[in-house]
Symmetry: D2
């Protein structure tokens, strides 16, 4: 089996997810861990292996580096994309590409100039349940798709510093549902409407952000899409999909911590709480996302979650954020900006 040497850019929360998974992947080799602060890179390298490096040019020139995985803070993604594209390295970039459409367009322009395989880390597409759900919908099992719904309720609000840097709830979290639902439906909304509240952590509201949202997407086919998101959920990380069509309905089942059913004098047929959060629930989806990146690069084809998909999801998320402020339906901006081309 051909192996790809990877440079893991970043040492933060998401890099800690990817590091061990790259190591465990039969086709991938964790060659380099990069952080401009060498101490951080060295610490991470001590944990997952790989050589610690702090110089970008050296990383990209390194003979062992066949591709890069960008897991740095979002506002630095663009710089690494431009540099890696120019160096001809295939890129796996954690979502979102950027919080600004203009800067995403600059990334797209760089990828136009230097055509390298590029994949955005919408890992939920690669979850086996979500993939089987899409396949069932696509197979016509429920007939013509009419309604699509997604629940994504997180166990508890993140630290307020995380919220401040997140780009807002829609860009940080709803973007996952948006990409997944457009991928399942095979189309992108012509109009969106979103409503937001702050009911769990008042500091989130003080930042002008929401911790509770409901979103409606109107699809060109007429299909209607609903997303609900919550920064808190008492019973775990609630992840559900439901699709209705003129011949039936299909749903995904939440994952639980065990497979036991409990009966006592207070509650019957009860199950355990749901898996805690995304690391537990989507553990496999990160592995399968790396599989896809590996397969696309070694087969010389475009990976499944493209830069264009990343741009569209951001455009929709930003329209949602605008709608939740304006109180009006908004039209996503799907046209790439001039200055970037």
């Amino acid at each position: 089996m051909e192996t790809l040497g990877l440079a893991l850019m970043g040492t933060g929360r998401m890099a800690q997810v990817y590091g061990p998974k790259i190591n465990a992947h039969p086709g991938l080799r964790l060659e380099v861990i990069y952080n401009p602060r060498i101490a951080s890179a060295e610490k991470a390298a001590a944990q997952y292996g790989g050589r610690a490096m702090d110089d970008l040019a050296s990383v990209l020139a390194d003979r062992g580096v066949d591709a890069v995985v960008i897991a740095t803070p979002t506002d630095t993604h663009l710089d690494y994309i431009e540099a890696a594209a120019q160096a001809g390295k295939p890129i796996y970039c954690e979502k979102p590409i950027d919080q600004s459409l203009d800067r995403v367009d600059r990334a797209l322009a760089a990828l136009d100039r230097h055509a390298v395989p590029f994949m955005v880390g919408f890992n939920r597409r690669f979850d086996p349940d979500n993939a089987a759900f899409r396949e069932a919908v696509g197979s016509g099992e429920i007939g013509r798709l009419t309604m699509l719904m997604s629940w994504s309720r997180e166990p508890s609000p993140p630290p307020i510093d995380y919220v401040r840097a997140s780009g807002g709830y829609f860009v940080d979290a709803t973007i996952h549902d948006i990409d997944l639902l457009c991928w399942i439906a095979g189309e992108r909304p012509v109009e969106v409407y979103a409503a937001g509240s702050c009911m769990f952590d008042p500091r989130i509201g003080a930042e002008g952000d929401f911790d509770l949202t409901m979103t409606t997407l109107k699809m060109p086919s007429g299909a209607l899409v609903h997303v609900n998101n919550s920064r808190a959920c008492a019973y775990g990380f609630d992840q559900r999909l439901e699709a209705a069509g003129d011949a039936g309905m299909i749903q995904t089942v939440n994952h639980r911590e065990d497979n036991l059913v409990r009966w006592d004098s207070r509650r019957t047929a009860a199950r355990e709480p749901l898996k805690h959060f995304f690391l537990e629930r989507y553990d496999l989806s990160f592995d399968h996302a790396l599989d896809e990146f590996y397969a696309a690069v070694t087969e010389g084809r475009a990976p499944s979650a493209t830069a264009d998909d990343g741009r569209a999801a951001l455009a929709i998320a930003l329209a949602c954020a605008k709608s939740a402020k304006s109180g009006h339906a908004e039209v996503p901006d799907y046209r790439r900006s001039h200055e970037s081309s």
Copy 2:
């Protein structure tokens, strides 16, 4: 047990629901069946009992008539409400009171002038599951309410003549969900947004109506509410509620035609299709609505689903209909009009 003599106004679809149920109720007596066309009244009287009458004044003057149940075409409700209120008769009126807020305000004005017990036929409040659901939410079992969702998907589109006279999907059907959800939440929305499509019967779209909608209600507390409605559903009459709060979640279970679970080589743990439609699913709720009317009248108190509730639900439904056309969020008109007071 005191019995109330009822005049059933109308002989159409809903009158056919109420007739036998009035007959079977231990406290009610089907005294009169009224239709301005005496042949229709006589035919109905032959079916459920009661005396056929075609003269409104005589009905209201009849010594056996203690109260009226209005189940005539919607655009005639106002006339009967005004006449019955003037005659001092308690009124049970099928929903909606009228399709026009102005005309509802005229009914409210009549009820102001002649204070008779008045109940609007929002029967779903009286369904045991829905009532238990509201009680659980109200008991604080799930903590502070944050999200509330309702599914109401009908088995197949109604005849196009029904659609034409219905006042549109929101006023005809969503109004049930709206009343139920406001009653559960204990508050009414400050803003609504609705999206509609026509994907099942193009004749419905040709009338400017929808057969598929998604609605968002923003509540004063910050709670967000979602409703989805569909004029077609392959697996029966899908009726679900879900409420989330900061301490948990609660859902209602759909009713099925039997209590068997089936396993074979294609599908496992499978259940029968859902009950066909509202007559099957909400059979008990009509009985319990009549119980409430009987109890309120005999106890001299106001029934649970008031004229004001009926007006509010209509105002919200009309705002939804407007939103689905305008593509914008709309504010329901909760202020009664001047000319009616």
Copy 3:
């Protein structure tokens, strides 16, 4: 609708179930309540109506009495059966007919001499779920029947006086499962094996009885049948059936107190406890058993649960009781005794 005037024999626990149900039945009339102690009869008559009587001959000679419902202590059933049969009155007799096969054979002999419609109160056959289950099995939906299982776990042990008079757990309770399973399978066991313990109430063990049993029935077709019974169950009255065949499996679903599903930080997808006991769970089955008795008598045909069914179920239950003592498999005694013919 033709109505049947009934004499309700007895005023105890089961009579209290039948009294109100006879009253509510459109085709039945509670004509007489009989107890040799007139005070008890009068008290019951004051509760459910009917004329109190204490003289058996007068009851059976009464012109208003078309049929009798025997709900007296088990050891008196035989006397009433013989008298009612001789008087030519159709008989509904609570189960078991008697605790002794010899005495049942005397009842059968009386019914041979005086051919009146006779039904034994195996009400569980008339439960809609159990009836639908049997129909599904009989329809061939699961192919050829191979395994049949029944769970019947009661909420808490009965008073020890009840246990003493009950004839033992197999004759008192398992007999219900036995009749139901033979009726579903369409055959009766050639051999039975039962095991019993006393783990809930030591007074039951001190009486030589069990409060926990498992029973195996071997059917002539080769199908194997399992029953488990328990005098205590923490989560309500557990009533389940499962049938497997070469094409699939079918199960019944327990009934619960509400239709809500609850999620919180400890338990997810949880349901309410089961219905408390047989009065709550099998409420409808008593009504439907009376329907069958009414229909059979007015149509001049034999009711569904015959005297022969009652004898067979007792023979099997007695073989189980013997097996649980002997530790060996036993063969039910299906041959009627000589002295009774």
Copy 4:
């Protein structure tokens, strides 16, 4: 991490399960594949790696061989156990140790003489669901254990040659349930009763064997245990456990091929068929069994499923087989025979 070099004895069906799993285990090394026919050993070695060998003495003398995994035909287990024990090698032996209690006693005698770690391959103990189930029962969550039930229904009958060599259905298959249930209950039956039929493949009956059985175990505590086994099951490999106690009940959930729930006009809330058979369902349990063997050997302690457990399970299975023929309850023979000690 210390690694153990293993000699895999055998190249048949079970060896094909263990070969790849040994290879994938971080602490195990597939050093040797043994078969007295060298061609078979070479073919297997080409598939999973390891050196092919056909001489037992050389295998046991090999410096790379730290322990042996015996996956040969059952009637050869004893020879390999005696040889490996004499050579001081830790032994993992596929179940059953032997089909004869006398021969098992000879194996136990060999292990008495040469105290090597010995584990019998009751892999179901190591399934995460079964282990969590046992832990829940042991934690007292359901109170004092009163009833324990196991379902094990295989998808389709094995080849008749397999049946002929299997030792009969109880020794081949029920032995798994027996070991699991005794391990969960923490006690062994004082008496067993089993019933068997042949309803799926008449050739199995012609061999004097069964393809459908129900078994009852009476435990010293008074707890009652039920097992049902079937050589055919239309909806997959049905594997369930249920335990009831005086405080509640607990069940395991079957595994399915996907996590989707399907609704259409014929069936609602339907799930996929179950996993096909033991390789799919118990894939993880083999890995965890090897984990236990590795941990026990490297930690110098006795593995969880001991030779004594293996003997007891066989004694119980043989008593079941005897009972199913005799039609009587039988007492398992737990006393080791004289000639073997």
